[in-house]
């Protein structure tokens, strides 16, 4: 039965973090911990898999469908695999008014992908996302990777180039044959 074979990844690998997160919420409202737990689960794999969602559901005593709804609603969470670095460009209305749509197209062009796609080397995924709370500093994007989230505001396409190179180089150091 599912209850006997449930995934234990979070609880074994991040037991201290899980405990710390749960401590922040009253016992009868621990379901509120769903978002930090999901964020924690993306730390390495950058993906909320079904087995991770079912583990979180079990920890919080809610249904896996409820966890999946959160993953589906927020662009912060991924239920599908992607690149090591997720470049998330806000294209909501205020950003679009400052040229975010056009900016997103150019970033895609630079990396040779379409929105939502991942580069062939598996380094980058470009996505358009909902509001990132920096409407006055558009065009802007955030990069989500194993190190967490970094904000990049008031961007030009050459700024992006620099970011891409920096992130890409970090990897190149580890795997020389991947370099151009």
């Amino acid at each position: 039965m599912s209850s006997n074979t449930a995934n234990q990844t979070l609880r074994t690998r991040y037991s201290a973090e899980v405990k710390d997160i749960l401590k922040r919420y009253p016992d009868d409202q621990k379901r509120s911990a769903v978002m930090p737990l999901l964020f924690l689960s993306q730390k390495e794999g950058l993906q909320a898999t079904v087995s991770v969602m079912s583990e979180i559901a079990q920890i919080l005593d809610i249904s896996i469908t409820q966890v999946a709804s959160i993953v589906g609603f927020y662009t912060l969470y991924y239920s599908h695999s992607g690149g090591k670095n997720r470049i998330q460009i806000c294209t909501d209305l205020p950003c679009a008014l400052r040229g975010a749509d056009d900016f997103a197209d150019k970033v895609c062009e630079k990396l040779g992908v379409k929105l939502g796609e991942t580069t062939e080397d598996g380094e980058f995924t470009v996505e358009s996302v909902m509001c990132l709370a920096a409407c006055d500093k558009a065009p802007m994007f955030q990069v989500q990777n194993g190190d967490g989230i970094t904000y990049h505001e008031r961007q030009t396409i050459s700024d992006v180039q620099a970011v891409i190179e920096q992130l890409g180089n970090a990897e190149i150091d580890k795997s020389p044959e991947g370099a151009e």
Binding site: T65, S69, F73, M130
Partner: protein, 848 residues
Amino acid sequence: MTESILVNIDDKEVAVPKGTLVVDAAKRVDNDIPVFCYHPKLDPVGMCRMCLVEVGTPLRDKETGEMMFEENGQPTINWMPNLQTACTMVVSDGMCIRTTTSQVTRARKDVVEFLLTSHPLDCPVCDKGGECPLQNLTMSHGSSESRFLLEEKMNIEKHVPLGDLIFLDRERCIQCARCTRFQDELVGDSVIGFDERGRSLQIITHSDPGFDSYFSGNTTDICPVGALTTTDFRFGARPWELAHTPSVCPHCPVGCNLHINTRRSGQDGNWSIKRVMPRQNEQVNEIWICDKGRFGHHFVNNSDRLTAPMVRRHGELVETSWDVALGLVSEKLQSSNGSIAGIAGERLSNEDLFAFRNLIQVNEGSVSQWPGLLGGGDLVQKVGVGVDTDLAKLGSDTAILVIASDLSEEAPLWWFKVRQAATKLGASLDKSRAALIVANARETKLDKIAKYCVRYNYGDEVRTILALSHAVSDGNTGIMGSIAANDNDDVIAAAKAISAAKNLIIIYGGEGQSYAASNALAQACSNLLIAKGNVGKKDNGLIPVWTHCNTQGAWDMGVKPAGVSATEFVADADVILLAGADPVGDGEPLPENSFVVVSELFKTKTAISADVVLPAQAFVEREGSYTTGDRRVQRFYPALPCSENVLPDWEIFQRIANEMGVGDVSAGPAAVMRQISLQVPQYRDISYENLAAVEEQWPDIGGEDSYYGGTGFQNTGGLGVQTLSLIESGFSVSPGDVDPIGLATGELLGVPVTVLYDRGSTFVKSEIMNSRISDPYIEINVGDALTHNVTDGDMVSLILNGKERELIARVSNDVPQGAVLIPRSMDGPMLRGVVPVNINTIDHGSKE
């Protein structure tokens, strides 16, 4: 109730209770403000924007606080600058609402246009077409043209199975969230939810099996479009071709009111049931039914049905005429000199049971109820729950004690209503919650919403009630001492809640019960109710969770349990008459030299070995009445035509009596009910006329206006009549002795429990449900499994009633140590109480 408020809707004054929503206030004066996401049973969300109206409130002078008036003496109205959603706006004193202005009309037109941006408009092939709110409201409020581009319509999946019972059409969904809110608020099974956002918002399920809820079918009723449909009805018929018949569910003691839709096939001319829907009865099932009731009707057209009377000739059962068969039966009865035993099933109608008992008694035989597992029916007649009690409406002045019952499995709609009382989620105006106390040997689904949980060991049910009673009067559990693994604080806390409550309802079930144990439990519960004065009035008294739909009717008709197995009961009888009873199939054989007569729907094991077999009509083929566990007598009607060679049970027994010259055949079931009303005191005021009486119900659902579309059906067949308990009729009732019961002992004890999706003969034959029905299994504690070298999914053998059985073992933390849960009606020998068992593993992991 709450105070009343005057509001003005389109220049019409209406008085409504404080807290009423504008949309409901308008409905009271037949002003149907169009809605999609709003549903009167759910908490409003204002998601669809269809109900926009103009709202104004009387203006008051800022300094004096005095009302301001126009020159013509009318109050000055301060109209809000924007349109308001009528489904979220609560009325206030003097509020003015306009629903017909050009601004409102325009808004409705625009909202419909928006809702249709991605709707496929495939009404001609849609199951909802003809009873679809989106279709209706588009016709009355929408525009014939759209400014959106056809190419931009979403083309997404149209046949998504959300499990085996419900299909989702993603294109048709208008994102109203009625289905998810129903599951979250009213059922508490959050197994469907929304994925994505905005235009991409979609319904998903991740449960295993998909959409794993006993109430899933209801979402197809409340869906205001054709996005959710049942596998059963999908592409099965058009709503306008269907014939309508009111009926009552035959699966459990709640007695949910059903609405049966039938259609005559154009190909072979045969009538068949196309779908079963809920029929509104606010006190019984509101507008809901469980999936067992909705889909468990297919047994009526199963090929195993008996079609002609049969008699045994030269060892073989051969078809014959009714005259020959009944002639033979009456001859045998006449020559038996009263050595007659009659066994009648608890799912027969009142009319059948009455005629059966009369036939046996006039021949000086004895009758018993089948299977007759539980006791206390006589106590229910005395101190049963007060007339007009609505479980869902119970508030903080009431304590509800549920003992020895896994209510969600035994009586889903009672579970549903008790949950409403304990949570007051959904649309209820009154948010005061009843104190729910759940006493059981293991955790059940009720525990999650219970205020107090009391644990005991199986066998300690009566002691638990005695300890509670002692604590209610004295504040401690007294001589009963410790009752279980848990300490007594739970008992004392629960007792405090009972003492503090003005009203008390005790619901007792059959988990781990024998007839004698259940009798004692019912008596202990009754004594507590009587001692506290919680009897003879609304919101107080005893409710039995019977194992069948008409167990209470059987008690009322004088067909009571024998308290022993059928084998023991019939031991010395020359002639055995059985109706709707299959003791052989349940492991209780009949003597070989007796003359056995069986009246049945199916070729049961008992029927196959009988001397005379008489084919009986199913509930949808005839008229009759059932009595619920809370003593509501409800009438059902014939929905399908039936072969003339198959008769209703009451007529079979009356014809036998007539053949013997000891009675007449009634003109019809109404005439049988007239006889019942003359002979059974509680039924003296009951007639087919008053069982058919209806009165206006609120919310106004399922009416001619199709306001909520396919949501259930208006009740046209009768709300039923609750019989008065003896104490309500003015008799005095005093506490009785609680007979001590011997407890079974052993290392492992087999405990009979009830599961909803069992293998009972009227359910397992509904093939649509087969994927949800488990193979026969037992459930065992993790520690015991380890000791006996059993792992989850193993095939194990155990001896039950002297017979070896092979079943799947499920290993679970929820089963108490030392107990082996053995579900009833799982093709196996029936347990008449807790018995010691031995378990042997025969095959590791053969089934997962």
